[in-house]
Subunit: 292 residues, 2 copies
Amino acid sequence: MNIKEYMAARRDYFDSKLKNFLPNPDSCPEVLLQAMEYSLLAGGKRLRPILVLAAAESCGGRLEAAMPPAAALEMVHTYSLIHDDLPAMDDDDLRRGKPSCHKVFGEGMAVLAGDALLTHAFSVAAQGVNEDPLRRLAVVAELAKAAGPIGMVAGQAMDIAGFGLMDASQVNHIHRCKTGALIKGAVRMGAIIAGAGAKVVHGLTQYADSLGLAYQIVDDILDVTETSQQLGKNPGSDEKKGKQTFVTVHGLEGARIMAAAETARAVQALQALGGDYSLLQDLAEYIGRRYA
Amino acid sequence: MNIKEYMAARRDYFDSKLKNFLPNPDSCPEVLLQAMEYSLLAGGKRLRPILVLAAAESCGGRLEAAMPPAAALEMVHTYSLIHDDLPAMDDDDLRRGKPSCHKVFGEGMAVLAGDALLTHAFSVAAQGVNEDPLRRLAVVAELAKAAGPIGMVAGQAMDIAGFGLMDASQVNHIHRCKTGALIKGAVRMGAIIAGAGAKVVHGLTQYADSLGLAYQIVDDILDVTETSQQLGKNPGSDEKKGKQTFVTVHGLEGARIMAAAETARAVQALQALGGDYSLLQDLAEYIGRRYA
């Protein structure tokens, strides 16, 4: 099974189980559940949950035990897209090839659907077939750290605070928070739920740091080179909003070189660990060359 | 110490410790932390954290061990106020006697400050001086259930979905979710962190169910009888928005009778438990007669 086949298989597995983690329809208002499902079940690449599953498998964990953290993380990612698309934030009408949540359900319900997904994610992360409560508690703490005010939300706050022209290190820092934090969290949550030791978690954290940066650089490249249909959202939107990206700061060719360098760094972090992490290596090489 | 003195003492204790639970300012963007602190440290009655502390004390727990759940719950309550006040939701300009978060920091930052408080609350709930991870995990699960799509957010969604004229049982159901869920969560989290057994948790849940309803009925009464200065928000705002409340459905006198009945029911639940729950009884009687 090559890496594209692996990703498709894990994506199908994840999508087939995801609905089981939604709240009970008997206890949740219908319109709220519809708004949550509209965004959560809209497809998407499922990159973050695939990373949770792949990290868990690479550390000897079972797929089934990694599903709660994977589902929780995708719920957090989806909430961030819903809130990001709001008129008060990025004001985007199109997401994953469909009208944004607030275009369909209204702004108020979109705020609540995001709040509901974020909160419910912690219900899901706290549960689990893995009976070791310490691991589940560590997963909860990791998710909150990755998504919260020193992680993803920090990046979004710096982004909308609008510092105007930023230098390369500021752009780097914002993206390490805004996108990198959840990707790092994905890999760490997978390793934690599988019971990996401190040395392995540390090495995989370095891997994930570089992977997250490579992913964002490639995303910025795709934003200027792909069509709306390929992206599932409006292309060139960063540029239109005057946002600084890796491409506006380093140019297209410079961004490509950076993506390759970060991908190589991710692979080195795995090699330093010893052991067989070829699955995570293949994932990094695939993600770092998505634009090619 | 009478109940008013107890509440003042616990409120002071809570307020003196709360800041310690905020994210590290070295890792959190300054403007985001300011927006979080602006709303979280704006005072307020601190009813929910006082209930966490009082429930823990009543079950033989230590105040110090109850602080993380209490702080987490107040963060969740504060986030809900910030998002509730947004133009897309209730559109309120005044909160706790000051301009709402979005009036000061803008809508986008207010959305993020709410998101940050909600997410960080789970970091706080997962940590703790109490070393029993099962209790901390149960606190996390309880917080997510109380605040999420089958709890508080469910109530808000039903509220803004705007069913127009509702009957008494619908108004009751919305408020059981919107306000009652966090009050129930407060009492249960306090009992859980103190290590209370299943029978006690069950009895206190019945107590908290009635207490939450009594609290909301009194709140609806105060909304039409108090001034803006007493409330710290604009009075009569429910009525102006055409919202159904216990007062619009049952009249002022009917609402007063209901508040007294629910308070009595809360006290009965405690008496059925045996043991000394006089502190929680005094709290219920105080809360149920705030309008007097």
